[in-house]
């Protein structure tokens, strides 16, 4: 298993990125963490819809995103990788709007190479393969990062996607965030395989396990996979070993199934804490510097939430124009009836 930083923030190898980038990565991880905490609390106040926080998984998603070039490369999400999406350029304001159920959160900005959030587990994976294959076909330098959870590896879509990716040598990195759980189902109930990474072997390309709570390990593993993909050598499956420190969603109660000791063991492996210790011990930042970053992130979140709240409510007819390129006569008459009467 690839690892650079041990549980106590001790560096085991040469740091695979500059100190400046490491600090920037930490900042985005923190932004993801504080965003999720804020949203869970807003959800509890009834101001947000059911949401799935990525608490504890920030190193896995930010590390992977840092290995991409946002100018050429695509990010294909499931729903628990917002921190990585923020690194890739998804705006915080839209992230807030996602959790209030505003449709424009799904309308990824034009200049961003990213697909919308995906509710169907593993449904994004065949699409990611098609996207990667299509880029290669037109000699586009871009590669595709597709993210999903351990539960996703049980879906037919996962197996069909990996199989085709292998056959087409598609430039795609499959990032499986193995966070131990699919709602209440453990990985042991999900598969009898010794690892998820080894599933790649059956499809004819490498599968690599890395410490998903170690920003450097995820970054270096995905960076190598990106190099393979760009060189035309095809896909890689990366299993990032991490843990869901929060809830499956705000509708979930993990105390019904999660062993307390297991949770506590992973609290000690918190990716944020690990980075803090490392950055301070290396002298990249001191304690007051960390506090300043906290304050800055807090302020960014405040500003973005303010902006999000100023977003006008969507026009009730929003969807009529968005199911087809042009509105048929029948749909048009449904729309005009709707506009006359207002109600659904």
């Amino acid at each position: 298993m690839v690892r650079y930083l041990d549980q106590d923030g001790e560096l085991l190898d040469d740091q695979p990125m500059s100190d400046e980038l490491a600090l920037e990565g930490y900042r985005v991880m923190l932004r993801g963490r504080r965003f999720d905490e804020r949203c869970v609390s807003l959800q509890r106040q009834g101001r947000m819809v059911t949401l799935a926080p990525g608490i504890g998984q920030e190193a896995a998603t930010v590390g992977a995103a840092m290995a991409l070039d946002p100018k050429t490369d695509w990010f294909v999400p499931q729903y628990r990788e917002l921190a990585g999406q923020l690194w890739h350029g998804y705006p915080l304001r839209l992230a807030f709007l996602w959790h209030v159920g505003h449709p424009i959160a799904f309308q990824v900005p034009d200049d961003l190479k990213m697909l919308p959030f995906q509710a169907a587990i593993a449904g994004q994976l065949p699409q990611a393969v098609g996207l990667a294959w299509g880029l290669r076909l037109k000699h586009d330098p871009g590669v595709v990062l597709a993210v999903f959870g351990d539960g996703g590896t049980s879906q037919g879509d996962f197996h069909e996607a990996l199989n085709l990716a292998g056959v087409m040598k598609a430039p795609v990195m499959f990032l499986c965030q193995n966070n131990g759980w699919a709602i209440s189902t453990t990985v042991e109930h999900q598969t009898a395989s010794a690892s998820l990474a080894q599933k790649a072997l059956a499809y004819g390309f490498p599968g690599v396990q890395c410490d998903g709570n170690d920003l450097f390990a995820v970054y270096a593993t995905v960076r190598d996979a990106v190099a393979r993909a760009r060189a035309g050598e095809g896909p890689t499956l990366i299993e990032a070993m991490t843990y869901r420190l929060g809830l499956h969603t705000t509708a979930d109660d993990p105390t019904r199934y999660e062993p307390r000791e297991m949770h506590e063991m992973w609290v000690d492996r918190d990716p944020l804490r690990r980075m803090q210790i490392h950055l301070v011990s290396r002298g990249v930042v001191d304690r007051s510097g960390l506090e300043r970053i906290e304050d800055e992130v807090k302020e960014e979140l405040r500003v973005a939430w303010d902006e999000a709240q100023k977003e006008p409510a969507p026009d009730p007819a929003y969807y009529f124009g968005r199911a087809y390129a042009s509105t048929s006569q029948r749909l048009g008459s449904q729309l005009s009836r709707f506009e006359r009467k207002g109600l659904g």
Binding site: I183, S184, T185, Q334
Partner: protein, 325 residues
């Protein structure tokens, strides 16, 4: 009699049937230790153990497909699909395989399988968790499709579905899970499949609905009463097989009909009901039959859903319009 919510009534039916018939297996995503994401299977794992209550891998295709094989092996599978929208991941196994198990073996094999799934909108759930996809399954000969609206029917129809020799898609009203409470007879209480229920008697207009839309229809009927229109509400309870006689009898009496569905208009099950009325009660009709449905676009994200799901106001409007035609 006990006052239960729909999800409690379902839990009760599952427990009764697991106790009565040792061949019954309950499986699906998160149905075991945690008792289902809506607690429909709460307590079953603890009572019947991990050989009969099984947390499966996250794969709807193999949940439905394995159910066919388990049935052939002599078990009585009751599988849960966490949300009906995800049954599509197992569409081949449900519609092309499960529905045809008897037919394609020329009667040699059958599949006494029940697939339970919550469905329908109005609870601010994410994409694909709210769409009313019943018509995707009513168009699959070999499959029965049941869609109760009340706790008593949820219990009674689930008992009958599990015992039915043919496969049943048992669609549970997500919005009513905890919201709808009602008296439920104790003990073994099967309700026959294929029989509709008169939810409210009336003489001027028949409103036909199923699942969560029944509550909407009843509210509209109440509002119509205040305007002097007497509305009969028919709760179909079972979509396949359809209780043609009950529909014909009511419309023959009232001469007017409104059919309510939560799904988008085009190719929805309401169209089937309208065509049936036209065939069975044409000469009693005093006005065109009206449909109340969602527009022909997919279910929207949360902020827009109240504009999408047909509500009592729209049903009332259709009721009034049909009396003026």
């Amino acid at each position: 009699m006990a006052e239960l919510t729909i999800v409690e009534a379902i839990n009760t039916a599952l427990a009764i049937e697991m106790e009565r018939d040792e061949r019954v297996l309950v499986f699906g995503e998160d149905v075991g230790v945690t008792g289902g994401v809506f607690r429909a299977t709460d307590g079953l794992f603890q009572r019947y153990g991990d050989a009969r209550v099984i947390d499966t891998p996250l794969a709807e295709g193999v949940i439905a497909g394995a159910a066919i094989g388990l049935a052939i092996a002599g078990w009585v599978p009751v599988a849960e699909i966490q949300f009906l929208g995800f049954a599509h991941n197992g569409f081949n196994q449900v519609v092309d395989q499960l529905a045809r198990a008897r037919y394609r073996s020329a009667g040699r094999f059958s599949a006494q399988v029940t697939i339970r799934a919550p469905y329908g909108g109005g609870v601010r759930a994410p994409e694909l968790h709210s769409d009313a996809f019943e018509a995707h399954f009513t168009h699959a000969p070999g499959l029965k499709v049941v869609a109760p609206a009340t706790p008593a029917d949820a219990k009674g129809l689930l008992l009958s579905s599990i015992r039915d020799p043919d496969p049943v898609m048992f669609l549970e009203p997500l919005r009513g899970y905890r919201q709808v409470k009602g008296e439920v007879p104790d003990g073994d209480y099967p309700v026959e499949l294929g029989s509709a229920r008169v939810a409210r008697e009336g003489t001027d207009v028949t409103v036909i609905a199923w699942s969560a839309a029944v509550q909407v229809a009843q509210q509209a009927a109440e509002d119509a009463q205040a305007q002097g229109i007497s509305v009969e509400v028919i709760d179909l309870r079972t979509l396949v097989p359809l209780d043609v006689a009950a529909i014909a009898a009511s419309v023959t009496k009232t001469g007017r009909a409104v059919v309510v569905q939560e799904a988008p208009l085009t190719s929805g099950f309401a169209g089937e009901v309208v065509a049936t009325i036209q065939e069975e009660a044409f000469f009693s009709l005093q006005a065109p039959i009206r449909r109340v449905a969602a527009p022909d676009v997919p279910y929207p994200v949360q902020m827009l859903e109240e504009h999408y799901v047909p509500n009592a106001e729209r049903v009332l409007e259709a009721i009034i319009a049909t009396t003026r035609d």
